[in-house]
Every structure is written in C-alpha cells, then in structure tokens.
Amino acid sequence: MRKLILHSSPLLRYAVGVTLLLSVGCSKPVAPPAIELTALITIPDGMYRPLYPGKSEPAEVVLSGFLLEEHAVTNQQFLSFVKINPRWQRSRVRSLFADKGYLQHWVGDVELATDSELSPVTNVSWFAARAYAEWAGRRLPTLAEWEYISMASETSAYGRDEKGYNQLILNWYGKVTPPIPPAVRFRVANFFGVYDMHGLIWEWVDDFNSALVTGESRGNSALDRNLFCGSGSIGSADPSDYAAFMRFAFRSSLEAHYTTRNQGFRCAADLK
C-alpha cells in the first residue's frame, strides 16, 4: 500500500497524506507554552494583486485581515515541537510525511547543530510545517496572504515599483545557499513589521500547489497557456516581476513531503 502511494501521482499522495495526518493526529497534541511562539503581527484588510489572476477574476481582490508571525519558525522552536511530539522526530517520522532530507542539518533527533538555534528551521516538509502550526494553535499562511506581505518594501505596502526592489530580491536568488542560514530578523522589517520575507529562506504556504508553473516554461499547449511561464509572463499581472515568477516556479517543483535545504515556514492565524 505504501509503495502504491509513493509511486502514484502527487495529487493522490497529497490526498492520502492529509487523510492519514488528520486521522493519526486524533490524539490531541500537547499545547506549547505561549512564551515560546513567535509574536504575531496584525495585518489589516488590504487589496491583493495576484500575479496570476484567473480569467474571470479582477486584478485586485480584497484580502481579509489576518495575523502573521513576525519571523520564520526557528530551529529552537521546532525543537520544542518535536520534543513534545516525538512522532515528528527525524528517526521516527513516516516517509509519507517527510522525505529522507528531513531535519538533516540537526545533529540528532533532539539535538541542534551549534549556533543554529535562532536560524529558521529548514529541511521540513509541508506536512511537518502544518503539524507545527496546528500544535501552536495556528495555521500556515495562504499563498495570497504570503505574496501580499512579500510585496511590501520597508516603506510601502507595494514596493514592487520602487527602484532596485526586484534587483535586491534577484541578488539573493543569485547567491549560493549557506548550509545553515543566518538567524531570523536578518534585515530590517518591512512596511508591515514583518521580517525576512526575502533574502533568508523560501517559505511553505498552505496552498502551494494552487498556481502551477509547469516544467516546460515556454509552453506549447493551448490548454494551459496562462500557467506556462513563457506565455505565463504574458498572462501574469506584472511581467516585470521576475522575482515572483521564480517563487512560483520554485513552489511548482515541490511536493508536500519534500524537504529542501533552504525552505522553512512561518505561521499565520485568523483574526478573532
């Protein structure tokens, strides 16, 4: 059965994985002490301009206000989580939920590498990120929420048109990934008071598969023209936003159980 799942389509695995997760997680996880979680920033209602609006969707949509963690989840925080929830420890996690690279940068199941406590946790799968978020009483941000916050510069909610904004992001994409990223709050906070939306790590979102760039990014099929990045750049709302393309391209290469050396996550929550 496991073999069948592992070799079947990503969609099937996603569905099976989520079902299993929900069923397995029926024993209520022990809640963390509140002091260890990251502070939440209140994000008010805003207008979000999706990069790939659907055919009948408007260029701008109202995004309801929400709460977002100020910085990504750190190794230290994730360590607390796996100590209390041992089935998410490296040697015990099920391969359906995380591939072989899971937490490979840690020294042991519950032991971090030196000086990595405040670095964002990486090598975590989408399933693991969701499990942490649920344990914390929170959730993963949606793609819309994440992209909305990511568009901000230091001084404005829409930094995309500022001179040098895209180049700054592309510069980071051009740099080689260090084995352990620097500590969170790497640069100054953006307009919303949120840190590290760019320049530190890639981040999981809840619906990462919802806008797909295919591997063939020049596109020769009329069927999915607006998803292919070659013609997708024509179909996108802002063809100059190469940095956003690359994030979409990166997300499209992922499957929910993948762990990546330079990807972590942060949590969001609904406004009460």
């Binding site: 690279g101 895209n166 180049q167 592309l170 510069n171 994409y173 051009g174 740099k175 080689v176 990934t177 084995p179 760039v213 295919t214 591997g215 063939e216 990014s217 020049r218 020769n220 990045c229 070659g230 997708g232 750049s233 190469y242 393309f245 690359m246 979409f248 391209a249 990166f250 499209s252 290469s253 992922l254 499957e255 993948y258 762990t259 990546t260 050396r261 330079n262």
Partner: protein, 507 residues
Amino acid sequence: MFKFSFTIMGSLVLTSALAASQATLGGGEDTPGVNITASNDGSEILPLSTTGYNNSWGPIMGEENAVLTSPPFVPAPITRNHATKLIVDLEVIEFTAPIADGVDYTFWTYGGTVPGSFIRTRVGDIVEFNLHNDPSSKMPHNIDLHAVTGPGGGAASSFTSPGHTSQFSFQVTIPGLYVYHCATAPVGMHIANGMYGLILVEPAKGLAPADKEYYVMQGDFYTEGAYGEAGHQAFDMNKAIHEDADYVLFNGSVGALVGDKALTAEVGETIRLFVGNGGPNLVSSFHVIGEIFDRVHVEGGTMVNENVQTTLVPSGGSVITEFKVEVPGNLVIVDHSIFRTFNKGALGMITVTGPEDLTVYSGKQDDRIYQGEGGAVQRVPTAGSNQIPATRDMAKRMELGKRTYEANCMACHQVNGAGIAGAFPPLAKSDYMMADRNRAINIMLEGLAGKITVNGTDYDSIMPKIVMSDDDVANVLTYVLNSWGNKADKVKLSEVKAAKAKKASGH
C-alpha cells in the same frame, strides 16, 4: 509460402535501410568530411524492434554509462557500430567563482562548469537521462536538449527541485551538434548564469578522424557593475533585457582559453572545434585569426561549407569547424564583432607548435622607411578604477598593475612583454623604457608616434594615449618596470601627478 517471401522481403528492406542510413561524412580514408547525408528520411517503414523503438539505425544493443567531459575536452569518438542504451547522469550545481580576475559571479552550472559537460551519443541511441539538482541549489532546474524530439526538448519531464533527481528517456534520431540549456522560469536568467552545453549526435558511420577535437562555447554575461569592476557581481536583469552585455566569453570566464589553458596542436594536425553559443542574446561571428576553416558544418547540421573565414553561430545554436594547421604560432579565437573580443573578453588561443613553413608564412622580411602623411595620436578611452588611495605598497601596485596590463596593454605588448616583432616593441628588458622613467610616464599620458629604437631594433608605429586614472598609470607602470627581467622602484602617484602638471603648464 507466404511467410517465406515476407521474411525475405523484410530482411531486404532492413538491409537497404541500414545501408541508406549510413552517413557519408568522412568515410575515413579517401574523402574526409565531404558531407553528412541523413538519408534516412523516414520513408522506409520498418518493422519495430522488440523494444518498440525505431531501429532504422539497427538494433539497440546493450547499455553503457555516457562518458561526460568538462570543457574544453570532448569524449573520445564513438567506436561502436550499433545504437545502445546510453545512461547520462548530469548534475546541476550553483556556486560562486571568478568570471574575471578580481570579479566573482554566481554561476548555475551543469556538471560544475560553464559550459556544461559535453555529451557524446550516436544516432539511434536511447538516452536515459538523469538530471540531479544538488541539495544546496536555490532554484529548481530542468533541461531542454535541442537533440530531443518531444515537449520542451525534455524540459517538461525534467523539472527538478533542489535535492532531487528527474529521469526521462529519449531517442536521438537526427545527427548533429545540439545545444542544451535550462528552461526554468525565468529562462533568460538561467541561461545567462551559465546553464548551457552541447550534446553531439554522431552519424552512424561517425565523423572523419581529426587529430585534435575541442569544445568551445560562447556566452554573454550581464553584471550589475561594469566590465572588470571588482568584487562579487550580481546578475543584472535590466541589462539582459536590453542585450547590453558586460562580458562576452568563451567557456565561462575571461582567459579560460589563454596562456597555459590555451588549446594546443602541432603543425600538420587537423583540429575540429565543436562550437556552441549559449547566448542568451548575442549571435557570434566566429573566427580564428590566422586560419581559414577548411570545412564548416553549418549550424551544426548536415550541410558542409568549405573554405570559410568567419561563420555565424546563432544564439542557442552551434557550428563544427575543421581546419588543418600549417605553421606554428598563436591562433586567436574571436567573435569578430570585435569589441567583444578586446573589451568584453571573447578571446581564446590555440598554440601551434612545430616546424616553420616560410612559403606559407614568412614572418617579416623587411622594414623600410616610408615618408607618409603620419597618423594622429588617437585617444583610447578606458574605464578607470574608482578607489584611489594616495599611497600603495609595491605588492598592491604590482597586483593591480598586472590586472590593468592584461585589460589594456596585453593585446599589443603580449602577456610576457615580448611585443610583436615589427609592430609593437617589447617591454621585457627594454632599454628604451628603462632608460628614462619620466619619458615612460609621459608616453602613458600622451601616447607616442614616430620612430624609436628598442633593444637595437627600430619601431615606427603609434601607441594611442590610454585614458585611465593616475592610480592605474602608477600601477601599470610599476608592474611593467618590475616584470620580465625589469627592475625599478615603484612608480608613485605623486610622480604621475607631477608629470601631468608639468605637461599642463606647457613644460
């Protein structure tokens, strides 16, 4: 009875198809490199082999791991006379390395080199392609091989996240020299960062033998800073969109094919160059100074042109050139859009050693006085350095001077200061230069025209005034006055400024 005649017919068809599909390129002995005829045009309908693949090129027998090589070398010519299953393992690695002296760039590469590893196949091979994306990669990557017939040239099936491998398989059905490159969005950026290489599909009978085969691939690079600006340079998307290249390079860095990394050959040998152009934007006017291409496989395809001086290599295209070298010396590989060669780095070398042939090339036979109109001294503008500390130690002046020398002076005075006989005087152990320090400074500032005698030989030429900062003048003069057997005190910034002031006041 029916079965019997069918079998006869079947084998006759198979045999004639095999014969027809033999390429006539080379044939080896009598007519080297006449033309490749891909005469299997698919009009013969052959029974499928048991594997289900088209076996117009004979049955697929066995399997082997492809030998991949780093530029400028290529794998040995294929000797098997049958198609096979060829397993290719190609790794994508992103890393930072020098693109020029003192300038670092983050390259995205296939196989750890720019261009990526050379893949050598035979027509009819089934290639099982494994694309590995190193876990430290920032980006997902894929591959589009122009040799592939299928969606995206393979790109649709090879989209690979960091720390994963994609496998897909294709049959190479048409001989030729093909580019491969990454096709992940944004495609231009992936290519501009060095993600390209060549895959050769040999015709069934192989290529004519050549004594030396080399792999050269041109690419244009776009950096935030100007050409030569020191430090780590990021990719500049805006310049790439405007096709305003800072570097145009053979094999991924300035000087990749120069000095001790020059290609080599002996007099009398035939050289075959597998030449690619990764782009992303510029077309190349490919030329080797001092040679004529005996045969040019136009655009890496079937047509062969002969006796060509300069050939075009389209962006995302290739060419195969073959020439026999007749005399010793340095041949210079260039893009004949010539400012790319002298100001952006598109320069490589082939060092040919062996006996002279004075009939084919005599060297300078005579030098006489000519009382002509006389040329004006031209100004050559160059970029100066930005930082100018007032004093530097000897070691620093030598280091910076060497860099300035290579960027501005080496083209004429050569890498070892030897100059070019009859044209440009030597700097190595130059009595003329060492005799008068101030004169040397003034030549840098004003240029020089007219006859001079250096080490007993007359030179009557023009050195243009090189516009550069005072600091660069002090650096490069310190370097030449202390290299190749020369020895002198370091040239100070104050000396250069004094010479300038004296000139301005009309001495």
